[in-house]
């Protein structure tokens, strides 16, 4: 175990102060993306200058500084670009827990051209070769929250 959490014994030397703070983020233009995820679809905005699609969608193209008003469905499949597995416990920033991460993270190029990351069903990284086709496996509709992890994982076709 790499990360050690020592409990300080003497507050005149050192002490801890645990805090949980709740934030509320407005998704804005990206709300449509969240609604689409709830419907089991991945959509992206398309740049009018070079046609590149980006996930998550952005109101303005990061390279060309023009508004992106066209939304394009990205399909349900993607091509594997790269994969890696985390071999040690890391903090889940959503809960503050230290946990192990069993499945690899994959980078995928979707059918519509946009690229995104996701978890992968295939745990043996030796079997993951760039170029492989992967398909999205979704949570049941009633469990979807409009977050990227509504896609449970990607599995090889």
């Amino acid at each position: 175990m790499i990360l050690k959490k020592e409990e300080p014994q003497d507050p005149s030397v050192a002490f801890r102060y645990p805090r949980v703070i709740t934030y509320k983020h407005s998704l804005g233009y990206q709300s449509k993306f969240a609604h689409a995820l709830k419907m089991g679809r991945i959509i992206a905005t398309k740049c009018p200058v070079d046609g590149r699609c980006t996930v998550p969608p952005r109101i303005v193209c990061p390279m060309h500084h023009v508004r992106q008003t066209e939304w394009v469905d990205q399909g349900q499949r993607g091509k594997l670009l790269s994969a890696f597995k985390i071999n040690f416990p890391m903090f889940d920033s959503r809960t503050g827990d230290l946990k192990s991460w069993e499945t690899p993270i994959v980078s995928i190029e979707l059918e519509g051209g946009a690229r995104m990351d996701g978890w992968c069903a295939e745990t043996d990284t030796e079997k993951l070769k760039p170029g492989m086709v992967l398909e999205a496996v979704w949570r049941p509709p009633e469990e979807r929250k409009g977050r990227v992890d509504d896609i449970l994982y990607w599995k090889p076709v």
């Binding site: 030397v13 983020h25 969240a34 469905d73 990205q74």
Partner: protein
């Protein structure tokens, strides 16, 4: 690029969404040798110590390793009586996470006798409506002390 999927996006709603996210943190604070000496004296001897700058002649409470004004290294400790004068105070009536006490409670700045700076601490042992600026105050120590600034439970008016 692969052929685009020609599925219409018109049926996807666009209503704005606001998401709630929780941030967790568990940071450590190191006191340092100077602060450790100060808190140890409070815990072991119920004594409040200040530290003096020979150049500026200021006595700082809580103590620090360097003078804030002239940056000289501070080594001259001064034992204080712990008594002081209430310079200002406020009564907290609203609730927020991580407060030291349930509201309503009072805290203020007490200028200890012999010190140049005031110390912020809770005020207790007195009716909240009877607190006055200029009152003479003295510290009330907890029975069980562990080496924290809250080993002083509060400052109360003398007499």
């Amino acid at each position: 690029m692969t052929p685009q999927i020609k599925k219409s996006v018109a049926d996807i709603p666009e209503d704005p969404i606001v998401v709630e996210v929780q941030g967790h943190s568990n940071f450590l604070v190191t006191i340092g040798n100077t602060g450790h000496e100060f808190l140890s004296q409070i815990r072991d001897n119920k004594t409040i110590m200040g530290i003096k700058c020979a150049g500026c002649k200021n006595v700082y409470v809580p103590p620090r390793s360097h003078c804030p004004t002239c940056f000289a290294k501070l080594t001259e400790w001064v034992k204080l009586s712990g008594k002081g004068t209430l310079e200002t105070y406020t009564i907290v009536r609203y609730k927020e996470p991580y407060m030291p006490k349930e509201p309503p409670y009072a805290y203020g700045v007490i200028k200890l006798d012999g010190a140049t700076t005031g110390i912020v601490h809770l005020i207790g042992g007195v009716d909240l409506n009877k607190i006055k600026v200029g009152m003479k105050m003295e510290p009330v120590f907890k029975e069980q002390r562990e080496g924290s600034i809250l080993d002083i439970e509060y400052f109360k008016p003398v007499g």
